[in-house]
C-alpha cells in the first residue's frame, strides 16, 4: 500500500470530504496560498477556491464564533487554529457556545464543526507555541476530543470528526506531521471512541497518547530485550474514551503506565488512571498505576531543556520497570 505522511493524510481527509459535501469548508489564518502555518492546506485553495478555503483575519475568537454560527445554520466548518495554544483566545466560543448550544437549547440545533490544531513541543517554539492543553477541553461536557498518532489514524478519525454532528477538537501533533504510514486511497472512517492496541503484550499496559504512542512503542522494543512484554494502547480519542479496551488490557497485564506529553498536574492521565482504579481491573492489579506527564513548567526554548520538560523513551522504560519492581 502507498504511504502518506500524517500531514498529507490530514489534507487528503479534508479534500475528500470537501469533494463529497459542499457544506464542508475550511477557515483559518494563512490557510490560503500560504498553505497554513505547517503547510497542511497547501494546494487546497487552488482546488477548492477562496470561498471554501477561507483565509481569515487574525481573530481567533471571531473565526471560532463564525465557525460555530455557520455550523448552527447548516454548514460543516473545519476551523484551523495555527497553534493549539491559540485556543485560549477562542475559548469562549468553543466552551460557552459550541459545547453548550445543543443541550442548552433542549436538543434543538446542532454544531457540526471540527477545530483542527497542532499541539505539542519539540520545535523550539517555546512556551506560547508548544503546549498540550487537551485536558482543558476534555473537561468540558459537549466537546469531543481526538488525538491521532499515525497517518492512518488521522485520516480515518478526521473523516469521523467531520461527519459528526457535534463539535470535535482535533489535535494534530507537530512532530508527527512528517511521520509516514500506509494509508488507503479511498475514504474511510475510524469511529470516535475506539482505542487501538498498537502493540500486544502481557506484562504491562502502557496507555499513551499522540507522540507518546511512538515513544511507548520504542520503549516496548527496548523492554522486550529485557524480556518484558509491554502492551501499548492508543486511546485515539479522549472523549469519548474507550474504557473497555483499556480495562481489558490492564486486567490482563495487571500493570498500567499512563503517559502523555501534557503537564502531569491536572492532565488527562489522571482521568485514565482513576478510571482504571475504579474499574474491575483494580482486582487484577499487581502494582500501583504510574503516570508520566510533562513537568509543571512552561515549555523552555533551549532544546535540551525542552526535551527534559516532557517524557522521553528512557522515562517510559523506567516507569515500566518500576511497576515491575525491576531496577
Amino acid at each position: 500500500m502507498r504511504e502518506l505522511t500524517y500531514l498529507e493524510a490530514v489534507r487528503e481527509a479534508m479534500s475528500q470530504e470537501m469533494r463529497e459535501n459542499d457544506d464542508v469548508f475550511i477557515l483559518g489564518e494563512d490557510i490560503g496560498v500560504y498553505g497554513g502555518a505547517f503547510g497542511v492546506t497547501r494546494g487546497m485553495i487552488e482546488e477548492f477556491g477562496p470561498e471554501r478555503v477561507r483565509n481569515t483575519p487574525i481573530s481567533e475568537s471571531g473565526i471560532a464564533g463564525a465557525a460555530v454560527g455557520s455550523a448552527l445554520t447548516g454548514m460543516r466548518p473545519i476551523l484551523e487554529l495555527q497553534f493549539s495554544d491559540f485556543i485560549t483566545i477562542a475559548l469562549d466560543q468553543i466552551v460557552n457556545q459550541a459545547a453548550k448550544l445543543r443541550y442548552m437549547y433542549g436538543g434543538k440545533g446542532k454544531v457540526p464543526m471540527v477545530l483542527r490544531t497542532p499541539s505539542g513541543s519539540g520545535t523550539g517554539a517555546a512556551a506560547q507555541h508548544s503546549q498540550s492543553l487537551e485536558a482543558w477541553v476534555a473537561h468540558i461536557p459537549g466537546l469531543k476530543v481526538v488525538q491521532p498518532s499515525t497517518a492512518y489514524d488521522v485520516k480515518g478519525l478526521l473523516k469521523a470528526a467531520i461527519d459528526d454532528d457535534n463539535p470535535v477538537i482535533f489535535y494534530e501533533h507537530k512532530l508527527l506531521y512528517k511521520t509516514k504510514s500506509e494509508v488507503p486511497v479511498e475514504s474511510y472512517s475510524i469511529p470516535l471512541g475506539q482505542a487501538d492496541i498498537k502493540r500486544e503484550g502481557t506484562d504491562v499496559t502502557i496507555v499513551a497518547t499522540a507522540i507518546m504512542v511512538h515513544r511507548a512503542l520504542e520503549a516496548a522494543e527496548e523492554l522486550e530485550k529485557d524480556g518484558i512484554s509491554a502492551e501499548v494502547i492508543d486511546p485515539r480519542t479522549l472523549v469519548p474514551l474507550d474504557e473497555e479496551t483499556i480495562v481489558k488490557s490492564v486486567s490482563k497485564t495487571g500493570r498500567a503506565v499512563v503517559v502523555h506529553e501534557a503537564v502531569k498536574r491536572g492532565g488527562y492521565g489522571g482521568e485514565i488512571a482513576s478510571m482504571i482504579a475504579e474499574s474491575e481491573a483494580f482486582d487484577y492489579m499487581d502494582a500501583p498505576i504510574r503516570r508520566l506527564g510533562g513537568v509543571a513548567a512552561p515549555i523552555p526554548y533551549n532544546p535540551e531543556l525542552e526535551k527534559s520538560a516532557v517524557p522521553q523513551v528512557p522515562d517510559i522504560i523506567q516507569a515500566v520497570k518500576d511497576t515491575l519492581n525491576r531496577a
Binding site: 457544506d23 469548508f25 470561498e51 471554501r52 477561507r54 481569515t56 483575519p57 481573530s59 475568537s61 471571531g62 473565526i63 471560532a64 464564533g65 463564525a66 465557525a67 460555530v68 454560527g69 455557520s70 455550523a71 448552527l72 445554520t73 447548516g74 454548514m75 466548518p77 469562549d92 466560543q93 460557552n96 457556545q97 448550544l101 445543543r102 443541550y103 442548552m104 437549547y105 433542549g106 436538543g107 434543538k108 440545533g109 461536557p141 459537549g142 466537546l143 469531543k144 454532528d165 457535534n166 472523549v239 469519548p240
Partner: protein
C-alpha cells in the same frame, strides 16, 4: 427627540402589520413585567434581565425581517424572541423550567432559542452572540440562501473583543448581517459615558469600513426605517450595517438592583419617552387605530401573558431521566 411620523418611508407595510407591532410591543412589556413580578414572589428561580422600556428596538428591527431571516440575541432577550415570532407560552414555560418550554426547561431566561424559526438564541455571554451572527451570515452567503442575520447586543458588548473581531470579519467578507447595538446607557452598573469614549457607538463602524447609524431606539418607526434600509443593503450584497439604538432599560440590570448608579430624575426623563405610548399616538394621528382599539389591543396582550402563565404552570417538570438527554460528549 422628534418622532418620525413619516409612514410613507415604510415600504409595503399594511395597517394590520402596524397594529400587530403595537400588540407585540405590549406583549414584550407585559411578558417582562410578569417575569419581574414572579421573580419578586419567588415563583421563578435563577436570574433574568428585563427589557422593559426597550420594546421599540426589538419590534422595530424585527418588523422588517422575513421568516427566513435570523437573529441572535442577548441575556436581555425576551423582547427579541417575541419580536422574531416566538410563542410566549413556550417562553414562559421555559422560565418555569418545564419540558414544554423552548429548551425543555434546560436553558432558562438567558438561552431561549428557536433555531428552526431563525432565532439562534439568547446568550449569557456578553458579546458571545456577535461572532455567531457572522457565522450565520456566512452560511447565507455560501449557500446562497439570501437571508439576513440581525445581531442584537448592548453597549457593554461593544467593548468586547468579539464585537471588534466579528465586525471586521463581517466587513472583509461583506456578509449579510445587521448589527444592532441597543445602547440602554448602562452595563450592569457602568454608564456608557464612563466606559466608551466616543459619543456614538455607531461611529465604531467607520473603523471597519461600513455604515453606522444612530437611531432613536424608543421610536419604533425610526427603528423600522433604519433597519429596513440596513436589511435591504445586506440582502442586496452590500454588506453589514451597524445601527445604534439609543434607549433605556427601566428596570435594574438583573432581578434585583438598587440602581445606585443612576438618578431617579434620569429614569423619569426616559419613562416620558415611552415607546409604546409614542407609537400609539402616531397610529391614532394617522387614523390607523382609535383610542378604543388601542385599549382593546393592550388588553389582548395582557391576557395573552396571563394565558402564557397558565400554559407554563400546566407543563410537566423534567425528570432526572431528562438530565442526560441531548448529551453527546
Amino acid at each position: 427627540m422628534e418622532l418620525t411620523k413619516d409612514l410613507t418611508l415604510l415600504p409595503d407595510i399594511s395597517k394590520d402589520k402596524l397594529k400587530d407591532i403595537y400588540k407585540e410591543m405590549w406583549l414584550i412589556r407585559y411578558f417582562d413585567e410578569k417575569v419581574d413580578e414572579f421573580f419578586a414572589k419567588g415563583l421563578i428561580h435563577g436570574t433574568t434581565h428585563l427589557a422593559v422600556g426597550q420594546e421599540a428596538s426589538a419590534s422595530g428591527a424585527c418588523a422588517v425581517l422575513e421568516d427566513r431571516d435570523k437573529i441572535t440575541s442577548t441575556h436581555r432577550g425576551h423582547g427579541h424572541c417575541i419580536a422574531k415570532g416566538a410563542d410566549v407560552n413556550k417562553m414562559m414555560a421555559e422560565l418555569f423550567g418545564r419540558t414544554t418550554g423552548y429548551c425543555k426547561g434546560k436553558g432558562g431566561s438567558m438561552h431561549i432559542a428557536d433555531v428552526e424559526k431563525g432565532n439562534l438564541g439568547a446568550n449569557g455571554i456578553v458579546g458571545g452572540g456577535i461572532p455567531l451572527a457572522v457565522g450565520s451570515a456566512l452560511t447565507s452567503h455560501m449557500k446562497k440562501l439570501n437571508y439576513v442575520t440581525l445581531c442584537f447586543f448592548g453597549d457593554g458588548a461593544s467593548n468586547e473583543g468579539s464585537f471588534h473581531e466579528a465586525l471586521n470579519l463581517a466587513a472583509v467578507w461583506n456578509l449579510p448581517v445587521v448589527f444592532i447595538c441597543e445602547n440602554n446607557q448602562y452595563g450592569m452598573s457602568g454608564s456608557v459615558k464612563e466606559m466608551v469614549k466616543v459619543p456614538d457607538i455607531a461611529a465604531r463602524a467607520d473603523a471597519y469600513g461600513f455604515p453606522g447609524v444612530v437611531a432613536d431606539g424608543n421610536d419604533v418607526i425610526e427603528m423600522m426605517n433604519v433597519s429596513h434600509e440596513a436589511v435591504e443593503r445586506a440582502r442586496n450584497g452590500e454588506g453589514p450595517t451597524l445601527i445604534e439604538a439609543k434607549t433605556y432599560r427601566w428596570k435594574g440590570h438583573s432581578k434585583s438592583d438598587a440602581k445606585k448608579y443612576r438618578t431617579r430624575e434620569e429614569e423619569k426623563e426616559w419613562r416620558a419617552k415611552d415607546s409604546i405610548n409614542r407609537y400609539k399616538e402616531v397610529l391614532i394621528d394617522a387614523t390607523i387605530i382609535t383610542e378604543d382599539e388601542a385599549e382593546t389591543i393592550r388588553k389582548q396582550a395582557k391576557q395573552a401573558i396571563e394565558d402564557a402563565v397558565e400554559f407554563a404552570k400546566a407543563g410537566p417538570m423534567p425528570t432526572k431521566e431528562d438530565l442526560l438527554t441531548d448529551v453527546y460528549a
